[in-house]
Structures are given as C-alpha cells and as structure tokens.
Amino acid sequence: MNPRWVMRVLRILLFETPDDPRMNLAFEEAFVRVRAHNYTDDTLRIWRNRNAVVIGYFQRMSEEVNMESASEYNVEVVRRFTGGGAVYHDLGNINYAIVTSGGDKDLTHVFKYLINGLIYALNKIGLEAGLENINDVIVGSHKVSGTAASLRWGVYFLHGSILFNTNLNLLYSVLKVPKIKLIDKGVSNVKYRVRNIVDILGRDVRYSEIVDALAYGFSKLLGKEYYFDMPSKLEYQVARTLYDLRYSREEWNEGYLRFIDMRDVDEYIEEILSK
C-alpha cells in the first residue's frame, strides 16, 4: 500500500469500544501509528470507556489502583503508552486524542500547542478554561481535564479526558492518591480539585455537544476543515494485533513490560505498516 496524499483536513473518528477498554487503548496506539506512516490525515479521535481505570506508561497497577474496589465494581484496568497519571473512565467522561504530523519540538511544546484545541472546545460550551502546571486544564480552581502527550513514532500526539458527568465517588474509591501529593497541594483529600463540567455549568451537557465542541476546537487550532470518518482496515488490523500482543497481556497492564521489552511486537507492527 502506498501512503496516500495527506490533505489539509482534520479527520474525526468516533470509534470506541466502551465495554472493552483494552481494545480502546489498542486502537489508540493503532491510529497514531497508522497516521505516523502517512496513511491517514491528522486525526482527532473521541471515545469513551464504560467502567475502567487507565494508568500511565510508567505506573504500576498495584501502586495506583485500589484493586479490591476495582474488583467490587467490575472496573477493568488498562495501561496506556503515554506517561502521566491514572484516570478513571465512565460514560460521563469523554476522551479525546489528537495526532498530527511531527517536527523537532519537544514534549512541553506539544502540550502547550495541542492543548489549545481543548481550551477552544471548552470555551465553545461556555467555560473559561486555562492551562496550569504544563498539562492540567482548569476552570476556576478545578481541574476538568488531565492530558498526556507523546512524540513516539515521529508524530505529535496528545490525549486526555474531560470530566463532564463522571461518578466522582467511584473515581475516589478506585484510585489511590498518595498522601504526599495531597500534602503538596495543601489539601486533605482528593475531592479538592476535580469537578464535573455539568456542575460548573449548572446544566446538562450532551455527548454530542462535546463532540461538536472538540471538532470545532481542534479544527480552529489546526486551521483545517474537518470530516467524520470510519477506521480504516489497516487501523483495525493494527489494533487487533496490538490487542493480542500488548493490551490484553497482564504483564503489560500491571506495568511490568516496557516497549524495550517488546521489540518483537513493534517490529511486527512496523512490518504490517510497511507492506
């Protein structure tokens, strides 16, 4: 397959597998790697999990997740390929992921630049949002979105979650928050900071309103018209392979395997992408 001509448009995917968080994360890696090979346009993906904890690349499941609580509430735990902290996902939380062509900028720049798409989106739904401490998006004194970025595979990538109507009690129950982090913030428990957008706005917010706002925000940032699309066969194929070889493996999700230990997987994926 020859790489297609990449146009100055923003592709939007709403592909999600809410009941299979591990497939959701396999697809997250797949669509970035397919974009890195120039088979697709710059792409914004919007997706949800029904009941999951997603931990950061450098984290360990046992250190971040209250496993008793996760088991009691059937919360599935999966690890992503980007750094940063653990997050709880339910259908009141919308995830966005943007991949664009790369360059020679560093991670801080990628955060600073791409996060503006989210800020424009939040402005669009009536929120005065700002950036704090490199990668937190705040409204007033509350964090409404945490983000993570990567320069892997030579592209610029940023993803994050927007709390619009999440079950915060379950979030507090399944995530372990180290005391040192709370002491540092001068507060005594985790409820200090995160807040749902519906509570800030004082009105209902529909999924479709957030999708439209994200499409508007990232299209404005990149200066590109957008269109909605379906995943390509290649994206499905890579996602399926990554699911089998990486995201369904306990050693990966528990945090004991790193990319350097899985070179064979990456070589195999690159082989698929180079055909």
């Binding site: 984290q59 360990r60 560093d106 401490n133 993570a148 990567s150 892997r152 040192i180 790193r258 990319f259």
Partner: protein, 103 residues
C-alpha cells in the same frame, strides 16, 4: 560469595509528577544493584528510563556519581522531561539507599 543486599524505597514529588523509586543495593560496598522507577511523570523518549535503570547497576552510591550517569543517559538520548529536573531523579534514587523499604 554471598552478597548481602538491602532494598530501600523513596518517593518524591517533583513540579510535574511523582517519582517512586525502589533500589536494591549492597550496603557494605555502597553499590547499586538494581533500580526500579515508576510514577506519573513524562519523559521522551520513554525507553530512556529503562536504559537509565540498567546503567545505574553497579554505580557507587554517591549523589555525584548518580547524577553523572543520569546526565550521560539524558544527553545521549536527548531526553525531554517536562516539570522534572535531573536533581529530582538524583534525590529520589539516593534517598532510596538511606534505609529499608518503607512502602
């Protein structure tokens, strides 16, 4: 010969991210045997951390020696580490060798 090893743990809150470090070391020779670093920080390229943990094996337990290895790995791999300083890593690794595992 039997090596008497100890394992220590330390945790450090950097500007952006929490670094958790577990170090297995030989207290008589003051040598690092194994390092395990986890946390919610960001590094690029990510695999430089695995290289760093490998390179720290056999290093003499001394802040300057540890810093030298970190600087070397970060230079070779042109590591970007937003919100975390090299000294943060030095601190958490060194402090892990000051006592027994505490977490």
């Amino acid at each position: 010969m039997l090596v008497m090893s100890k394992t220590g743990f330390s945790i450090y809150k950097a500007k952006k991210g929490l670094i958790k470090c577990r170090v297995e070391y030989d207290p008589s020779k003051k040598i690092i045997l194994k390092v395990d670093i986890t946390g919610d920080f960001f590094l690029h390229p990510e695999d430089s951390l695995s290289v760093l943990m490998e390179r720290l094996k056999g290093v003499y337990i001394d802040r300057d020696e540890i810093a030298k290895v970190i600087k070397e790995v970060f230079n070779i791999y042109k590591v970007s580490h937003p919100g975390i300083e090299i000294d943060d890593f030095v601190k958490v690794i060194y402090e892990s060798t000051l006592g027994d595992e505490g977490a």
